[in-house]
């Protein structure tokens, strides 16, 4: 307002600072792509250059896929994250509906337990859950990766808060139409809760796709490895020798989520910041 000069100066300063910060944020990504595109000889050169003299991305990718069964690991990631999400919804939605809309003895206690459950960090329960899975002989299986996460106290809380905003009249109308309480959950509440379920879905899939701690503990077999575990093993076996393929493998592992994020940023940011509430 005061004068146009200072306004444009401020705008230039804003862009300069933000671009400088953005360069730092993007540096690892650029370095990853750069290294993944370089042949071995250029990787091991003290001279700094980002654009490879010889473009070797395809060779490095081919080598990465040859050295590790990356496709299988990606598939594992998909199977595990999708199973976790579907089971979380199947468990959380009915409970959330009952907590939000039905009156029964012990409801408040149960809800208090849910709130308490949100506070428990996953590392805290790792040892007993591991021992439990050991006892029932489920270690080193998809079940070991999925079962502990089928219960999401946070998911129940989130859905319950959402259902609270659905008018009681809608539920009563469904009852008048002869839909059972179970039917109401899936045929009335789920469609109404799609935005919340989507946000929770993104939160859940991102969290478990990127999870390293739990798969590291319960897995042994190579063919069950999830993507993060796969990169870690790749790095342990190859580090110091083949950085090109290692960076190519890292690219492959982060690609699915990053690409999905770039296509639906708003939804992803919404979903991920849900953890803020947690």
């Amino acid at each position: 307002m005061s004068n146009t000069h200072s306004v444009s100066l401020q705008a230039v300063l804003r862009h300069l600072l933000l671009i400088a910060g953005a360069a730092i944020m993007l540096a690892p990504f650029i370095w990853m792509i750069s290294t993944a595109s370089k042949p071995q000889t250029e990787v091991f050169s003290s001279e700094l250059h980002l654009i490879p003299y010889r473009f070797a991305l395809w060779d490095n990718l081919r080598e990465a896929f040859a050295k590790a069964n990356l496709l299988r690991f990606l598939l594992n990631g998909v199977i595990v994250t999708i199973s976790i999400f579907v089971l979380q919804v199947m468990v959380a939605l009915p409970a959330a509906y009952a907590l939000a809309k039905l009156r029964f003895r012990g409801r408040d206690t149960l809800f208090a337990l849910v709130l308490f459950g949100i506070l428990i960090p996953p590392q805290a329960t790792a040892i007993p859950v591991f021992l439990l899975l050991h006892k029932v002989g489920l270690l080193d299986s998809y079940a070991a990766l999925v079962l502990p996460f089928t219960i999401s106290a946070f998911g129940i809380f989130l859905m319950r808060q959402f259902f609270k905003t659905v008018p009681d009249d809608l539920v009563d109308a469904a009852r008048m139409d002869g839909i059972s309480e179970f039917g109401i959950v899936w045929r009335v509440m789920l469609p109404a809760a799609i935005p919340a379920v989507t946000a929770f879905g993104i939160f859940s899939v991102v969290a478990h796709w990127n999870d390293y701690f739990w798969p590291l503990i319960v897995l042994n077999s190579e063919q069950l490895r999830t993507p993060p575990l796969a990169v870690a093993h790749f790095r342990n076996n190859e580090a110091g020798t083949s950085y090109g393929p290692l960076m190519a493998a890292a690219m492959v592992i982060i690609a699915p989520l990053v690409i999905a994020f770039l296509f639906a940023q708003r939804r992803f940011i919404e979903g991920i910041t849900l953890t803020g509430i947690k």
Binding site: P28, W31, V91, L102, R103
Partner: protein
């Protein structure tokens, strides 16, 4: 659509009346309620609350995975723990990590959010770029960072040498390794904090800034002091605590990049717990470490709920 709406209106009144006069329906609904919450309640017991009680109980035993017997040994695990130098190193490193990463990621997140919000152009591009590290699998990016920090061929030392500055063996040097991990931690957390601050900034009523203008707060700093900072208060405490809890859980980068080394200089609580519990299978001892970790995390959570109650301004 309109048919549906009519049904809803028509049904509302009689349904409410039915609830009052016919308790039989109500009790059937109560059974349904128990059936609906049963799976969640059972799983919560088995996977969350049971294990939580279990870890506390385990910390008073000498249980080791695969051992045929175990016995209650009272506070012996804790005595061992507090007598163990590695535990104190891990605790100190964890606290150092928290004390570096939390202010770093919070201040940077706030600064970026303010910068982005101070103009209108390219907002969503910047937001996307700064948020990208939150989305990328940390383990994969940790591996990239490792190579960026490579003493000979890494980008960081390459740039330092180019500027005529001394290079470091970042992750291999015990005086820099922990701080290198802190840098990665900040890099990864900044975007998350930025998004929370952006949400907070957007929700500040525009009229407050106009009132401040009219009241004489003519400099940007005066308006920040009068409106932005106090209005962000609740978001800030929230971001600080969430960053704190996440920093306490640091494990991935440590495990894949340094394994707690060199010479324990990056040993952190959860990593110690992992080593004791899942490499040496000393479950009881690892449980004691978990309990210490839990105490810190729950304390932070308590602070959060305390401050959250106080921080609410408008109704």
């Amino acid at each position: 659509m309109s048919d549906g709406a009519m049904t809803i209106d028509a049904a509302a009144v009689p349904a409410r009346a039915a609830r009052r006069t016919l308790p039989a329906h109500g009790s059937r609904r109560t059974y349904s309620a128990y059936a609906l919450v049963a799976p969640a309640a059972a799983l919560m017991l088995v996977m969350l609350l049971g294990p939580l009680a279990g870890v506390i109980a385990l910390s008073f035993t000498d249980y080791q995975l695969g051992a045929p017997h175990f016995s209650w040994i009272g506070l012996a695990n804790y005595q061992d723990l507090f007598a163990d130098k590695v535990f104190w190193i891990a605790l100190r490193n964890t606290l150092t990590y928290v004390v570096v990463v939390v202010p770093g990621a919070v201040i940077a997140g706030l600064a970026i959010a303010l910068l982005i919000q101070s103009g209108t152009s390219l907002r969503s591009l910047y937001r996307t770029i700064y948020f990208l590290p939150v989305m990328a699998t940390l383990i994969a990016m940790a591996v990239v960072w490792e190579f960026m920090l490579h003493p000979q061929f890494g980008l960081v030392n390459g740039l330092l040498r180019g500027a005529g500055l001394p290079a470091f063996a970042w992750l291999q040097d015990r005086s820099t390794a922990l701080y290198a991990l802190c840098a990665i931690g900040i890099w990864q957390a900044v975007g998350f904090n930025m998004v929370l601050f952006l949400a907070g900034l957007v929700s500040i009523p525009k009229q407050l800034y106009e009132a401040a203008e009219i009241d004489g707060a003519s400099s940007g700093w005066a308006r920040f002091r009068l409106v932005t900072w106090p209005m962000l208060g609740p978001v800030t405490t929230f971001v600080v605590v969430v960053s704190g809890i996440r920093s306490f859980q640091v494990f991935d980068t440590v495990h894949v990049l340094t394994k707690g080394g060199p010479s324990k200089s990056t040993e952190v609580l959860i990593h110690t717990m992992y080593t004791e519990g899942f490499e040496f299978f000393r479950s009881g001892y690892a449980a004691a470490i978990t309990v210490v970790f839990l105490v810190f995390v729950l304390a932070l959570t308590l602070i959060k709920s305390r401050l959250a109650d106080r921080g609410v301004h408008y109704t």
